[in-house]
């Protein structure tokens, strides 16, 4: 009797193990193509480019010619190069200013689009339009012809005003941003979309409940919509950072590309520059991730 039960128990355990194994196998099967792709098209190139940064690389007719330099490329980039660090810092300053602007603008527009009013459908279609063009060569072409500037900056002589009020140190990035307002608008298409999708996850009944309790829309925005939108703000911050750092008009990437084809610097040096850049993106994103996790924890506690 008892031996039968033990047998039964064993059989069942074996079955459960089989099931777990099968699920594991299925998981690996499904992940396999991605894993192969990651290895060939991401991991190997990444490792290779890290190796390039430690060498001086010359292109010869029969392949690359490596000369070991250790960390020399990084030292040169930080201490000797007088173009790259300046460009990097200026761009970083600009990006740090642009991120909140893009997010606040996207939040504002998506809030407006979330109201009900006649012609909402048409407006939504127009506001998703940038998603189509924002990545293209076409936009670069347009901006190079000056179609991307705000009409009122020249008309009202904004430049000296900004210079006077903010001082020359801050005026430069601010003016840079004013000149790029239209680009900022064009780069907030996906963010608007994410916010609108996010608002749909907050259930309508919550709004009704607080309205019955006598909350004004103003209060319900601060107490319900905004806290509900925190995860999307984080997501948008991450997306914006990645988007801005891989942006075609980006001066830093331009500089890296220039160095690639200069005979005295070459691929190794350019790769070192790119890795410094990547490290900065990584740090910025980790900060956003940490803040997000903190916000999420605080929400859970409440």
């Amino acid at each position: 009797m008892s031996s039968e039960r033990i047998e039964e128990h064993r059989r069942r355990r074996r079955q459960r193990w089989l099931e777990v194994l099968r699920e594991q196998g299925l998981g690996y099967l499904f992940m396999a193509p991605w894993a192969v792709g990651f290895l060939v098209f991401m991991a190997i190139p990444l490792g290779w480019s890290l190796y390039l940064t430690l060498n001086k690389v010359k292109l010869t007719p029969n392949g690359f010619d490596y000369t070991w330099r250790g960390l020399g490329n990084f030292r040169d980039a930080i201490l000797l190069d007088h173009v790259y660090p300046v460009k990097l810092l200026t761009y970083l300053q600009e990006v740090i200013l642009m991120i909140p602007i893009i997010i606040i603008f996207a939040l504002f527009v998506s809030l407006l689009l979330n109201q009900s009013f006649p012609g909402r459908f048409l407006f939504r279609a127009i506001f998703f339009l940038p998603v189509i063009f924002a990545t293209g060569q076409v936009l670069t072409e347009l901006f190079s012809q000056g179609a991307g500037e705000l009409p009122f900056i020249d008309q009202y002589n904004v430049k000296p005003l900004v210079m006077e009020y903010f001082g020359p140190r801050f005026a430069e990035p601010i003016l840079g941003i004013l000149g790029k307002v239209v680009i900022i608008l064009w780069y907030s298409g996906v963010q608007i979309l994410i916010f609108i999708a996010g608002f749909q996850t907050i259930s309508k009944s919550v709004y009704e409940a607080v309205r019955i309790d006598g909350a004004t829309p103003w209060e319900s925005f601060w107490k319900i919509t905004l806290p509900g939108a925190v995860p999307f703000i984080g997501l948008n911050a991450i997306y914006t950072i990645v988007d801005l750092f891989t942006f075609p008009l980006n001066p830093v990437l331009e500089e890296i590309k220039n160095n690639m084809f200069k005979p005295d610097t070459g691929y190794g040096y350019a790769s070192a520059l790119a890795w410094i850049y990547f490290a900065i993106i990584f740090i910025l994103l980790s900060v956003v991730f940490l803040l997000l996790r903190k916000a999420a924890r605080r929400r859970r506690r409440v």
């Binding site: 098209f41 109201q115 127009i126 996850t201």
Partner: protein, 327 residues
């Protein structure tokens, strides 16, 4: 009598006051609204603000379209900003020849269509595995995917160039098709994350029901999960199509000659038109390459995705609402 008249006028005044007051209140409620955001005034303000921003969005497009049809004299005339005096279609013809449009269109379409279909498939599979299957190393895989989303393409472009060169893929569409097939296409990581989010919102009961029915994991995925993921698939497909259509940096490295897409040819427009070939554009001093020609080229590049968007946008907007794209 006098008293009566006095009473009468007083009563009349009071009636009028009440009546007008009620009406005024009604009007007021209609205009300002019971709450902040449902009155006519609020709606008008919202519409106005949105129209202003929409104008900023549409302005470059309008600029492109009007510049495209301006003849040379209008381009040089600073008094003409928006509306040309006469419409000149020759720019479109020049751009057509300069871009070698039919061939370039075919190349771009092959890359965009195939790659986005591959991406939908592979990202759905990977996203599903990450969301619903338990296996050892899942978190590591997810971390690697997020990491690969952040890697700037410039870091790996030289090694990739060498690898593709060794494989003999340069200047062929394989450069984009094969990585897309293995989940390393343009922003594949983002699409994997979208699918993962979508699949993780589906109820757990689906798997339990399938298990009770004795369906295999594979069957569950292809017959139940994939059809449910249609809205997510549409969003991914559209994004992927448009990004592949517009991409510039990667093809400028990998596809320099023979198999070039539209975005590369926009840069070479001038060289092609001035070059010694048998194009029917006939460039001369009377018929030069102007800003308008470039704008016509740009317009011809964005016209197809614009058309796709116009057709698909109704579903697109709906599925964004439904995907739970973000969670």
């Amino acid at each position: 009598m006098a008293v009566f008249v006095q009473h009468w006028t007083a009563a009349k005044a009071r009636i009028r006051k009440v009546w007008i007051g009620r009406k005024a209140q009604k009007v007021k409620r209609m205009v300002i609204g019971q709450y902040l955001n449902d009155g006519l005034m609020a709606k008008a303000i919202i519409c106005m603000m949105l129209s202003f921003i929409a104008y900023l969005y549409l302005q470059p497009l309008l600029y492109m379209v009007t510049t495209m049809v301006k003849p040379l004299s209008d381009l040089l005339d600073p008094t003409i900003k928006w509306i040309p005096r006469s419409i000149d279609w020759s720019n479109l013809r020049k751009a057509w020849y300069g871009l070698q449009y039919p061939e370039a269109f075919r190349n771009t379409l092959i890359i965009a269509l195939c790659c986005s279909i591959f991406q939908v498939g592979i990202c759905a599979i990977t996203g599903y595995a990450l969301a619903r299957l338990r296996f050892f190393g899942r978190n590591l895989a997810f971390f690697l995917i997020i990491l690969s989303f952040m890697v700037p393409p410039q870091i790996i472009i030289i090694p990739l160039y060498t690898i593709y060169g060794e494989l003999g893929w340069l200047n062929t569409p394989l450069v984009f098709l094969i990585p897309a097939l293995f989940g390393q296409g343009l922003r594949s990581a983002l699409f994997i994350i979208i699918f993962r989010q979508f699949f993780s919102t589906l109820p757990k009961a689906l798997e339990e029901a399938a298990k009770v029915d004795g369906a295999s994991g594979f069957y569950l995925f292809t017959r139940i999960m994939l059809p449910l993921a249609r809205p997510a698939a549409l969003v991914v497909f559209l994004f992927s199509f448009i990004w592949y259509w517009n991409m510039y940096y990667e093809p400028s490295m990998f596809l320099n000659s023979s198999f070039t897409p539209l975005s590369i040819r926009l840069n070479n427009l001038e060289a092609v038109l001035l070059g010694p070939d048998m194009s029917g554009a006939k460039i001369s001093a009377q018929n030069p390459i102007t800003e308008g020609t470039k704008m016509a080229g740009a317009f011809m590049i964005i016209a197809p995705p614009l058309l796709v968007y116009m057709i698909a946008q109704r579903w697109f907007v709906e599925s964004i609402d439904r995907t739970g794209l973000v969670e």
